[in-house]
């Protein structure tokens, strides 16, 4: 009985199956946005090769902007996905943590002088120090969540409140400026390569996480802890450690994003840098169809979600939306997306599809 039923899955059944796929929402959103831009102005998809001030070849165009500015978000989405899966909550302190790690990078590079002629330390050292600092803050968040059993959103509220102040304190509230051109490579272009560097950094992060997920049990452990902590413990897992680990990995992602952020400007503005980025990162995870209550996750969907959000932002900018008004439009789009992906709404449509199917079936029988 069942096998014949399976064979008879018609178009509506296939559609229903497609709609239930996790990747459906981010991809559909991407498609809709692309379609919208195609209708409004096909010039959106134009990519041209030009030369920047330094005389280097650079690609320009809205698509390149999306790849460029979506990178930080994609990097953060990787860590945020793991944190969400393991702890069933979100880290709202990533923006503040980016401010801290950016501040640390500048502090190490500048030393005592806030406007140094030459760098006081190699960039790699500054970056590594920022990594360590960001991971320590990640571990702090993780420890609050794992050992003190504080809900992630609340635990990270602490760093969210204090982070930007700490960032300012690290540099004595001064605004260091780096004049060394090679520092700007990370947020701009490496001479001779026309593709923005942040994209490569994001790509490296993606490759690393893909390898990690393939070569280790990170996925299984994280999901098991996120779904049922108590049974994970009885199967020999250490749930606390896994949770802390996920926050530490997010810390690493934050450090990379921080490097890109300060490199873009060669300086930092403590109260504005990476503002609201935590919200975008969480949205990326949600848009990727990952349950925000933890458990199963799909990394690719999150990363696509991140680029979809940047796509949306860029589209809105192109439509001359004021940057302060941007959130209003974003909110509407987000609500439409989450409403469409809500289980109740999905079930409603699935029920509709089933009705259609049963009608066609009865016709066949009749």
């Amino acid at each position: 009985m069942q096998t014949t039923g399976k064979k008879k899955l018609g178009v509506s059944g296939l559609l229903g199956k497609l709609v239930r796929q996790q990747m459906f929402i981010p991809l559909a959103a991407l498609l809709l946005l692309a379609l919208f831009n195609l209708i409004v102005d096909p010039g959106f998809f134009q990519v041209s090769l030009g030369y920047n001030n330094a005389g280097n070849p650079v690609l320009s165009g809205y698509l390149i902007t999306i790849l460029d500015y979506g990178s930080e978000l994609a990097i953060l989405a990787i860590g945020m996905t793991l944190v969400t899966a393991a702890s069933g909550g979100q880290d709202i302190s990533v923006g503040a943590a980016i401010a801290i790690s950016g501040s640390v990078i500048l502090r190490v590079l500048c030393g005592r002088d806030s406007r140094p002629e030459t760098l006081q330390a190699p960039i790699i050292v500054a970056f590594l120090v920022a990594c360590v600092v960001a991971m320590l803050f990640g571990a702090f968040n993780g420890a609050l969540v794992a050992y003190f059993r504080i809900q992630p959103m609340v635990a990270t509220l602490i760093l969210y409140t204090a982070g930007r102040s700490i960032a300012a304190w690290i540099n004595n509230n001064e605004l260091p400026i780096i004049s060394e051109p090679s520092f700007a490579y990370f947020g701009g272009y490496i001479p001779g390569i026309p593709v923005p560097t942040p994209f490569f950094l994001a790509l490296i992060c993606m490759i690393i996480i893909a390898i990690v997920l393939r070569m280790t049990n990170l996925r299984l452990y994280t999901q098991a802890v996120g779904i049922n902590e108590s049974s994970s413990r009885l199967n020999g897992l250490n749930p606390e450690l896994i949770k802390v680990l996920s926050f530490v990995i997010l810390g690493l992602c934050v450090a990379v994003a921080g490097l890109i952020k300060v490199s873009r400007l060669s300086t930092i503005n403590y109260s504005v840098v990476a503002k609201d980025i935590e919200m975008d990162a969480i949205l990326a995870v949600a848009l990727g169809g990952n349950p925000l209550g933890g458990g199963k996750f799909n990394m690719t969907a999150s990363i696509i979600g991140a680029y979809v959000i940047q796509f949306l932002t860029t589209t809105l900018y192109k439509l001359n939306v004021q940057s302060d008004a941007l959130p209003a439009y974003k909110a509407v789009v987000v609500i439409v997306l989450v409403v469409l992906s809500a289980p109740t709404v999905k079930d409603y449509f699935a029920g509709l599809g089933k009705k259609l199917k049963s009608q066609s079936m009865s016709k066949e029988v009749g």
């Binding site: 003190f148 959103m153 509220l157 602490i158 909110a331």
Partner: protein, 350 residues
């Protein structure tokens, strides 16, 4: 049998007593005790400034809006949800009221109506999405916050002060507190006063406390927050309860938004920035648990007072650099969360 029970009850150990206490009352007690310790500490170490009644009433004046917003947030948190749109909505309300009063020559009662309607509209939509479409409250209200902030800029980009006479008169109304006051430098007795907003805030606290404590609906909020599935089985309309929580929170945001507007007397897109976080922090310090089912409006009231007392202590202690405020609030929040967590786990073991 009964007599032995009685003697053992009399000899209850600390741990047993702790265990017998409901989670809500336990956290409330901790909050109030810590607030008084902190305030006494401030008086002892930072001098007489904190001893003047007006110092206390100034805390109330400055935080009337936050108290109201926190009440709404506590309610939503008790049902196991969250609302991070309250700050954005407050800014939107201030801006809309300001534009209406100054650019369109409006009057105050209609402005209040506008404030309430905006708040209710947010509560209505968010409540519907959260309760009936079962979308995560964090995402819904995050979008709400984005929307409100964005709309504020769309309504008017530049900050400006409201000059409507009736409004300014209401804003400057001072209500003296009978029997309390202090002698100023010139030797003149100055009675302590509070603004209109404080009266509204206190009324809200009282009403909300009564609703949560002495009405069936109030207890349903706790039941839903305690265990959604069980609440359903107990015959509670979980969806409607959640919806109502958001709706009431929206209404309170409307009231709180206007009280905020009354205090600042201007419209600006950057108004009430971070108010949602302060409100969440206040609720948590006040003993509301984000997991739901545990919390008390009186605790929330003390939560707001604790938070602002700490801020005052920091600035009086001469740590004027801007970052200290952020860091101390965070440290305070951290302390409270850790205390709560330790007490709860101790209770579980006891």
């Amino acid at each position: 049998m009964s007599s032995t029970n009685k003697t053992s009850a009399e000899k209850m150990s600390f741990a047993e007593r702790l265990k017998g206490m409901s989670d809500t009352n336990l956290l409330l007690t901790i909050t109030i005790v810590i607030f008084f310790l902190m305030y006494i500490g401030a008086i002892v170490f930072l001098g007489g400034g904190f001893l003047k009644p007006q110092a206390f009433f100034n805390i109330l004046n400055a935080n009337a809006a936050l108290i109201i917003l926190s009440c709404g947030l506590s309610l939503v948190m008790i049902t196991g949800g969250i609302d991070i749109s309250v700050g954005g909505t407050t800014a939107l309300i201030s801006m809309c009221c300001a534009v209406y009063l100054d650019f369109h020559g409006g009057n105050v009662p209609v402005a209040i109506l506008i404030a309430l309607l905006i708040g209710l509209a947010f509560g209505l939509v968010q409540g519907f999405l959260v309760a009936y479409l079962d979308i995560q409250p964090f995402i819904v209200t995050l979008a709400g916050m984005f929307f409100a902030r964005g709309m504020t800029t769309i309504v008017n980009t530049n900050p400006f002060n409201v000059e409507n006479e009736a409004f300014v008169a209401l804003k400057d109304t001072r209500i003296t507190v009978p029997g309390l006051g202090s002698v100023n430098k010139l030797g003149k007795y100055v009675p302590a006063y509070v603004g209109v907003g404080v009266i509204v805030a206190l009324l809200v606290v009282i009403v909300m406390f009564c609703v949560l404590r002495w009405t069936k609906l109030g207890r349903q909020f706790y039941a839903v927050g305690g265990n959604k599935q069980s609440a359903l089985m107990l015959g509670i309309n979980v969806k409607r309860t959640k919806f109502l929580a958001h709706l009431i929170c929206g209404l309170l945001t409307g009231i709180g938004g206007f009280v905020y507007f009354l205090y600042v007397g201007s419209g600006s897109p950057s108004h009430a920035s971070g108010a949602e976080m302060n409100a969440i922090a206040s609720s948590i310090i006040g003993g509301t648990m984000l997991t739901g089912g545990v919390g008390n409006i009186v605790g929330t009231f003390f939560g707001v007072l604790s938070l602002s007392t700490i801020q005052n202590i920091v600035s009086s202690a001469g740590l004027d650099e801007a970052w200290w405020t952020g860091i101390t609030i965070a440290a305070m929040l951290c302390l409270f969360l850790v205390i709560q967590s330790l007490v709860m786990s101790f209770k579980k073991k006891a």
